[in-house]
Amino acid sequence: MLEKTNVKVLEKVVVRFSGDSGDGMQLAGNIFSNISAGIGNQISTFPDYPAEVRAPQGTLSGVSGFQVSIGKGVYTPGDKADVLVSMNPAALKQNAKFLKPGGVAIVDIDCFKKSDLEKALFKTDDPYTEINLKAQVVEVPMTSMVKAALADSGMDLKSITKCKNMFALGLVCWLFDRPIESAINYLQNKFAKKPAIAEANAKVIRAGYDYGNNIHASVSTYRIETDDIRPGTYTDVNGNTATAWGLIMASEKSGLPLFLGSYPITPATDVLHELAKRKDLGVKACQMEDEIAGICSAIGASFAGNLAATSTSGPGIALKSEAMGLAVMAELPLVIIDVQRGGPSTGLPTKTEQTDLMQCLYGRNGESPLAVVAAASPTDCFDMAFEAARIAVEHMTPVILLTDGFIANGSSAWRIPENDEYPAIKPNFVKPEMLEQGWKPYMRNEETKVRYWAIPGTEGFMHRLGGLEKDSVTSAISTDPVNHEKMVAIRQEKVNNIAKNIPAQEIQGNPDADTLLIGWGGTYGHLYTAVQELNAAGKPVAFAHFRYINPLPANATEIIKKYKNVVVAELNNGQFADFLQAKHPMVEIKRINKVQGQPFLVQEIVEGLTKIMEEK
């Protein structure tokens, strides 16, 4: 790669920035992906944070990474990087495994002194050999170049070294022929109140870019293909922000004010952060005293007539389960967002998994059915948050939206929808004439089994709800055995009926194949890419990626029964596979599972499926 100057044309490329958690790698990565999106690339990003806020500088536990894939046909942040930027030996050591063999590793050689190597627990003074690095290493004296660039700035040394990330960004921009002007514009906006900082960063980006130019004799540059993407106005959005925005869209489309009751928890907290900012759109986001208060305040808000939501991760779902049962019993609309992370217990807070599915489907006392949907990608979080709210409001039921740490923090370019692209959400409100017809609180639409919603403050419709079993019509407390069984059936039927109000399951890939790959939730990008690769390689695979989990789309069974080979790939020990197996005992459901706190690699799916297909 490094022999001589040439320009390589690539469909897509993966770049990974790594450094100390204080080195500003997330910012450098974000700016790089935004510039790329701005010139028409598809983007997909994945930040990989340490659990510690600030581990000791230069140590292995303090390494923070940011991976971005740019180009055409980009559905994942990429399995492995073409280019890895490492600001210190610890970052290199932790991230070398994410670099393709023969890729380019750019290191700040100023930070590879003996003491730096020791902090990263290197035993020799040859770190590359010690970690068996099979890459072209480009050693750049970043720290000294930054110092030189800012020598006349009058800034102190600490502030100067903080600009190193922008030097790396400038260098990578040169490597991939990105326009640094948009990076400089971005920084001028970000540091509008600190023009000196903005100026220093701009200077350093240019220095990095020029440095690349000056050494160009020895490094190849790339031209990345752009995609034919749908015209419109785009922005870069991560899954948590998209989730928050989807709820706001649902609020606008239902005419119900939006209320969020929440409690901080990794990796879901950014939903709370975003909605807290959205007081400018009338959103009330309340940080409550604990997880239970988070959902309970939302249930109170729902009873009061708002579109109510609560956001959390797996441990929070455990704490909220009793209250979810109350929402099931009281038949109130509620959106519960579970941004899944590694478990059990505190588990792996900053890592991703799909291990909460069973908890969400069944983790409550009693027969307690509720709807479960799952978002497939960062931008799909918008659509599925909207869908979760639509189902909750139109069916008077709690709905769990499953996302995960990978799509919650990962981002993609997203076309900002026009307001008329989303349907009106129609709450099943009581009508004044119902009073004369002898309205009772548990009277319901006979077809859908959805009870009518009377908002407190409405004259004549005063009623009492509660967690005790209720008479199927009057909502008076009832311990009658037959009534209880009837209510259990009604609550189940109401949830089952949602299948009539959601889209049919789509098949992608080659629908005529013998093998069907099934996925759900945040693994979509990896599975889709694997399916494309397999079909391109003459190994036909059909692909059904589920976003509606409970109830399943009406045609799910028909699809599952149609294929000889049914394989579920998921980031757990087979929870969706078990769910489908229980519903389809005659079909042998095969499995590809991974529980490492990391997303799938496309390669793992390709290999796993190939193996299963060859076994048949």
């Binding site: 249930i299 009873f303 409405t458 009623h463 009492r464």
Partner: protein, 338 residues
């Protein structure tokens, strides 16, 4: 709060059969609440009553208002969300000493701290009734019951202390046998803007009968309680000849005209004093050396959570001027694809 005098007690009564045990103090408290609501005059459809779990938490079923009988301990969190979401409603919360101070203790202190505009009735019978007789966080040390057959080995909460510890803006106390004073406290709680805590001493006839007898028995009640009224002298006793005076850093009960104490030495109650120092001293009086205080002990103004939320929403909306979500997103970093 829209007040309107057209309502009677009957307007607030539901058609449900009241299932508390005969002789339970809750019956009297329910009747007083109906009266207090009629006196305050907020329409039944503008009123919500929210509870947790326990005997006292059955109360919403007996109200012809919007009502929600929720889950154990969570009434405070649910009521807080309800009020914040729909601030036009007048919200009452009913809890017991177990529901409110044990399993729901966290929500209790936080609703007080936030000063959400709720009227909270804390029915304190110092026992778990619905689960048939276990000690509660207000049971006295050494209390013998099914879950402490040799007596408890822990000290109780005094609800008022929690309220003052959380910088509560309203604390009042009533007794299930002092109906007029209880009504006065509930009405004041309803009119107070912010989180009003009303502790109602209540007798459980089945599992803790007579627990408040030291205070409530007719013989001694006048000497062991004092009805505090803002702006009035703190006088009590059968013969209205006793008063509360300040004695150094403490309070003291004295007989007027004895030991050199005159009526001028007797404190005048100031429920509106911002400092809660004396309010706390008054609320801690337990009927032994000093009479137990009933009536409105503290009633001060402070920023109200739900009002501050509304204010902030209005301010930020006006400042940013977005008409919809799309409008807001378009104001950020975007790019065009043609």
């Amino acid at each position: 709060m829209e007040e309107n005098k057209q309502y009677t007690n009957a307007d607030f009564k539901s058609d449900q059969y009241v299932r508390w045990c005969p002789g339970c103090g809750d019956h009297a408290i329910l009747a007083v609440l109906h009266k207090a609501m009629a006196e305050v005059g907020v329409a039944p459809h503008m009123t919500a009553v929210i509870s947790g779990i326990g005997c006292s938490s059955r109360l919403p079923y007996y109200m012809n208002t919007y009502g929600f009988h929720t889950i154990h301990g969570r009434g405070g969190a649910i009521a807080s969300g309800f009020k914040t979401a729909n601030p036009k409603m007048t919200v009452w919360q009913v809890c017991g000493d177990g529901d409110g101070l044990a399993i729901g203790g966290n929500h209790f202190i936080h609703e007080v701290r936030r000063n959400v505009d709720l009227n909270v009735l804390l029915l304190n019978n110092k026992i778990y009734g619905l689960t048939k007789g276990q000690y509660s966080p207000t049971s006295d040390r050494g209390f013998v019951c099914k879950s402490a057959p040799y007596g408890t080995t822990e000290d109780p909460f005094i609800p008022a202390e929690l309220v003052f510890g959380a910088r509560g803006t309203f604390f009042g106390r009533g007794i299930d046998v002092e109906l007029k004073i209880s009504q006065e406290v509930m009405v004041a709680a309803a009119r107070h803007k912010g989180c009003s805590i009303v502790e109602m001493l209540q007798n459980c006839v089945i599992f803790n009968h007579g627990i408040h007898n030291f205070i409530t028995d007719k013989e001694n009640r006048a000497d062991r309680t004092i009805h505090l009224v803002h702006g009035e002298k703190m006088i009590f006793g059968k013969d209205k000849n006793k008063g509360i005076v300040q004695d150094g850093f403490a309070l003291k009960a004295v007989e007027i005209g004895k030991d050199g104490y005159t009526i001028d030495d007797v404190l005048v109650h100031d429920a509106h004093c911002q400092s809660n120092f004396l309010h706390q001293q008054l609320a801690m009086m337990d009927g032994h050396d000093l009479p137990l205080a009933i009536g409105v002990i503290r009633d001060v103004e402070a920023p109200v959570y739900n009002e501050e939320v509304e204010k902030q929403v209005a301010e930020v909306k006006a400042k940013k001027g977005f008409t919809c979500l799309r409008d807001m997103i378009l104001s950020g970093d975007t790019w065009e694809v043609k």
